[in-house]
Amino acid sequence: MQVKVLFFGVLSEVAGTDCRHYMEVKSINDLKSRIIDEFPEIAHYNYRISLNSEIISSDRLLNENDEIALMPPFAGG
Protein backbone atom coordinates (compact mmCIF):
# COMPACT_ATOMS: atom_id res chain seq x y z
CA MET A 1 0.00 0.00 0.00
CA GLN A 2 1.48 3.26 -1.21
CA VAL A 3 0.42 6.95 -1.19
CA LYS A 4 1.83 9.96 -3.01
CA VAL A 5 2.72 13.19 -1.18
CA LEU A 6 3.14 16.53 -2.96
CA PHE A 7 5.12 19.37 -1.38
CA PHE A 8 4.24 22.88 -2.57
CA GLY A 9 5.79 26.32 -2.24
CA VAL A 10 8.45 26.70 0.43
CA LEU A 11 7.82 23.11 1.58
CA SER A 12 9.19 21.76 -1.69
CA GLU A 13 12.44 23.49 -0.80
CA VAL A 14 12.40 22.25 2.80
CA ALA A 15 11.75 18.67 1.65
CA GLY A 16 14.20 19.01 -1.24
CA THR A 17 11.59 17.54 -3.60
CA ASP A 18 8.06 18.24 -4.78
CA CYS A 19 6.90 14.62 -4.65
CA ARG A 20 7.57 11.52 -2.50
CA HIS A 21 5.90 8.15 -2.07
CA TYR A 22 5.22 6.64 1.35
CA MET A 23 4.48 2.97 2.00
CA GLU A 24 2.22 1.44 4.63
CA VAL A 25 0.72 4.59 6.14
CA LYS A 26 -2.69 4.12 7.74
CA SER A 27 -3.91 7.64 8.21
CA ILE A 28 -3.18 11.33 7.67
CA ASN A 29 -1.89 11.64 11.23
CA ASP A 30 0.37 8.64 10.72
CA LEU A 31 1.66 10.20 7.49
CA LYS A 32 2.27 13.58 9.16
CA SER A 33 4.42 11.91 11.82
CA ARG A 34 6.43 10.13 9.17
CA ILE A 35 6.99 13.34 7.23
CA ILE A 36 7.99 15.33 10.32
CA ASP A 37 10.39 12.56 11.39
CA GLU A 38 12.01 12.80 8.00
CA PHE A 39 11.89 16.62 7.62
CA PRO A 40 11.66 18.04 11.15
CA GLU A 41 11.85 21.61 9.83
CA ILE A 42 8.40 21.26 8.22
CA ALA A 43 6.87 21.45 11.71
CA HIS A 44 7.79 25.16 11.82
CA TYR A 45 5.69 26.01 8.77
CA ASN A 46 2.04 26.84 8.41
CA TYR A 47 0.30 24.59 5.87
CA ARG A 48 -2.98 22.88 5.01
CA ILE A 49 -3.40 19.31 3.82
CA SER A 50 -5.47 18.06 0.92
CA LEU A 51 -6.49 14.49 0.24
CA ASN A 52 -7.20 13.75 -3.41
CA SER A 53 -7.49 17.52 -4.12
CA GLU A 54 -9.95 18.24 -1.28
CA ILE A 55 -8.70 20.25 1.68
CA ILE A 56 -9.26 18.33 4.92
CA SER A 57 -9.09 19.56 8.49
CA SER A 58 -9.29 16.31 10.47
CA ASP A 59 -7.64 12.90 10.36
CA ARG A 60 -8.60 10.41 7.61
CA LEU A 61 -7.79 6.82 6.82
CA LEU A 62 -5.67 6.41 3.69
CA ASN A 63 -6.13 4.10 0.73
CA GLU A 64 -3.87 2.79 -2.01
CA ASN A 65 -2.81 5.56 -4.45
CA ASP A 66 -4.24 8.41 -2.42
CA GLU A 67 -2.68 11.77 -3.24
CA ILE A 68 -1.90 14.04 -0.31
CA ALA A 69 -0.61 17.61 -0.71
CA LEU A 70 1.11 19.84 1.87
CA MET A 71 0.11 23.37 0.96
CA PRO A 72 1.49 26.57 2.50
CA PRO A 73 -0.80 29.64 2.27
CA PHE A 74 -1.79 30.30 -1.34
CA ALA A 75 -0.06 33.21 -3.08
CA GLY A 76 -1.59 33.49 -6.52
CA GLY A 77 -2.28 36.67 -8.45
Binding site: G9, S12, D18, S53, F74, A75, G76, G77
Partner: protein
Protein backbone atom coordinates in the same frame (compact mmCIF):
# COMPACT_ATOMS: atom_id res chain seq x y z
CA UNK B 1 -14.16 27.48 -19.06
CA UNK B 2 -13.13 25.08 -21.77
CA UNK B 3 -9.52 26.23 -22.09
CA UNK B 4 -6.65 25.66 -19.69
CA UNK B 5 -6.47 28.50 -17.20
CA UNK B 6 -2.77 27.92 -16.50
CA UNK B 7 -0.39 29.52 -18.98
CA UNK B 8 3.31 28.72 -18.93
CA UNK B 9 5.28 31.97 -18.59
CA UNK B 10 3.85 35.49 -18.96
CA UNK B 11 0.31 35.87 -20.30
CA UNK B 12 0.59 37.28 -23.85
CA UNK B 13 -1.36 40.32 -25.01
CA UNK B 14 -2.93 38.04 -27.63
CA UNK B 15 -4.85 36.18 -24.87
CA UNK B 16 -6.42 39.47 -23.88
CA UNK B 17 -7.30 40.27 -27.51
CA UNK B 18 -8.89 36.88 -28.05
CA UNK B 19 -11.02 37.38 -24.94
CA UNK B 20 -12.03 40.81 -26.24
CA UNK B 21 -12.95 39.30 -29.60
CA UNK B 22 -15.22 36.82 -27.84
CA UNK B 23 -16.85 39.73 -26.05
CA UNK B 24 -17.86 41.29 -29.33
CA UNK B 25 -20.09 38.31 -29.98
CA UNK B 26 -21.99 38.81 -26.73
CA UNK B 27 -24.00 41.89 -27.57
CA UNK B 28 -26.21 41.37 -24.53
CA UNK B 29 -23.30 42.46 -22.33
CA UNK B 30 -22.92 46.16 -21.58
CA UNK B 31 -19.86 46.18 -19.38
CA UNK B 32 -16.68 44.18 -19.13
CA UNK B 33 -14.31 44.56 -16.24
CA UNK B 34 -10.76 43.29 -16.61
CA UNK B 35 -8.04 42.95 -14.05
CA UNK B 36 -4.46 42.53 -15.20
CA UNK B 37 -1.89 41.54 -12.59
CA UNK B 38 1.71 42.33 -13.42
CA UNK B 39 4.98 41.34 -11.74
CA UNK B 40 6.33 44.44 -10.03
CA UNK B 41 10.06 45.20 -9.78
CA UNK B 42 9.68 45.77 -6.03
CA UNK B 43 12.65 46.60 -3.87
CA UNK B 44 12.62 44.42 -0.74
CA UNK B 45 15.30 44.98 1.91
CA UNK B 46 17.60 46.48 -0.68
CA UNK B 47 17.06 43.73 -3.27
CA UNK B 48 15.09 44.23 -6.49
CA UNK B 49 12.63 41.58 -7.72
CA UNK B 50 13.66 40.46 -11.21
CA UNK B 51 11.03 37.72 -11.66
CA UNK B 52 8.47 35.55 -9.90
CA UNK B 53 8.34 31.80 -10.33
CA UNK B 54 4.78 30.50 -9.90
CA UNK B 55 3.89 26.91 -9.14
CA UNK B 56 0.38 25.47 -9.02
CA UNK B 57 -1.27 22.27 -7.85
CA UNK B 58 -2.42 21.42 -11.35
CA UNK B 59 -4.67 18.55 -10.25
CA UNK B 60 -6.65 20.88 -8.00
CA UNK B 61 -6.56 24.23 -9.78
CA UNK B 62 -9.30 23.64 -12.34
CA UNK B 63 -11.79 22.36 -9.76
CA UNK B 64 -11.12 25.37 -7.51
CA UNK B 65 -11.44 27.72 -10.50
CA UNK B 66 -14.83 26.20 -11.34
CA UNK B 67 -15.97 26.72 -7.74
CA UNK B 68 -14.87 30.36 -7.88
CA UNK B 69 -16.74 30.91 -11.14
CA UNK B 70 -19.89 29.20 -9.86
CA UNK B 71 -19.81 31.24 -6.66
CA UNK B 72 -19.55 34.52 -8.65
CA UNK B 73 -22.36 33.52 -11.03
CA UNK B 74 -24.54 32.61 -8.03
CA UNK B 75 -23.86 35.91 -6.24
CA UNK B 76 -24.18 38.30 -9.21
CA UNK B 77 -27.31 37.74 -11.28
CA UNK B 78 -26.35 40.25 -13.99
CA UNK B 79 -22.97 38.56 -14.68
CA UNK B 80 -22.86 36.70 -18.02
CA UNK B 81 -19.35 35.23 -17.93
CA UNK B 82 -16.23 34.93 -15.79
CA UNK B 83 -12.87 33.97 -17.29
CA UNK B 84 -9.36 34.01 -15.94
CA UNK B 85 -5.82 32.92 -16.69
CA UNK B 86 -2.88 32.51 -14.32
CA UNK B 87 0.78 32.02 -15.13
CA UNK B 88 2.93 29.13 -13.98
CA UNK B 89 6.72 29.10 -14.19
CA UNK B 90 8.85 32.22 -14.47
CA UNK B 91 7.39 35.66 -15.22
CA UNK B 92 9.91 38.50 -15.34
CA UNK B 93 9.18 41.92 -13.82
CA UNK B 94 6.81 43.78 -16.15
CA UNK B 95 5.20 40.52 -17.34
CA UNK B 96 1.51 39.72 -16.84
CA UNK B 97 0.75 36.85 -14.46
CA UNK B 98 -3.02 37.15 -13.96
CA UNK B 99 -5.86 38.10 -16.26
CA UNK B 100 -9.49 38.22 -15.10
CA UNK B 101 -12.44 39.19 -17.29
CA UNK B 102 -16.02 39.51 -16.11
CA UNK B 103 -18.86 40.47 -18.47
CA UNK B 104 -22.24 41.67 -17.24
CA UNK B 105 -25.31 43.39 -18.50
CA UNK B 106 -24.39 46.57 -16.64
CA UNK B 107 -21.21 48.09 -15.29
CA UNK B 108 -21.88 47.87 -11.55
CA UNK B 109 -21.94 44.08 -11.31
CA UNK B 110 -19.15 43.70 -13.91
CA UNK B 111 -16.82 45.78 -11.73
CA UNK B 112 -17.88 44.32 -8.37
CA UNK B 113 -17.78 40.73 -9.59
CA UNK B 114 -14.33 41.21 -11.19
CA UNK B 115 -12.99 42.61 -7.93
CA UNK B 116 -14.50 39.70 -5.99
CA UNK B 117 -13.09 37.17 -8.47
CA UNK B 118 -9.58 38.58 -7.95
CA UNK B 119 -10.01 38.23 -4.17
CA UNK B 120 -11.23 34.63 -4.48
CA UNK B 121 -8.32 33.74 -6.76
CA UNK B 122 -5.86 35.03 -4.16
CA UNK B 123 -7.72 33.21 -1.39
CA UNK B 124 -8.55 29.87 -2.99
CA UNK B 125 -6.43 29.10 -6.06
CA UNK B 126 -3.66 26.62 -5.14
CA UNK B 127 -0.78 28.70 -6.51
CA UNK B 128 2.50 29.68 -4.83
CA UNK B 129 5.19 32.13 -5.71
CA UNK B 130 8.91 32.45 -5.30
CA UNK B 131 10.33 35.95 -5.67
CA UNK B 132 13.65 35.92 -7.49
CA UNK B 133 15.96 38.89 -6.95
CA UNK B 134 18.54 40.47 -9.22
CA UNK B 135 21.35 38.80 -7.23
CA UNK B 136 19.68 35.39 -7.92
CA UNK B 137 18.67 34.88 -4.28
CA UNK B 138 15.00 34.10 -3.70
CA UNK B 139 12.20 34.16 -1.17
CA UNK B 140 8.96 32.16 -0.96
CA UNK B 141 5.74 34.17 -0.58
Amino acid sequence: MGRNLLIHGPIPGSSILSLLDEMGMKSDSGGHSLFVGQVRADEIEGKVVSAIEYSAYEGMVQAEANKIIQSILAEFDDVRSVDFFHSTGIVKAGGISLLVLVSAGHRKQAIEACSKTVELIKERLPVWKKEIYEDNSHSWK
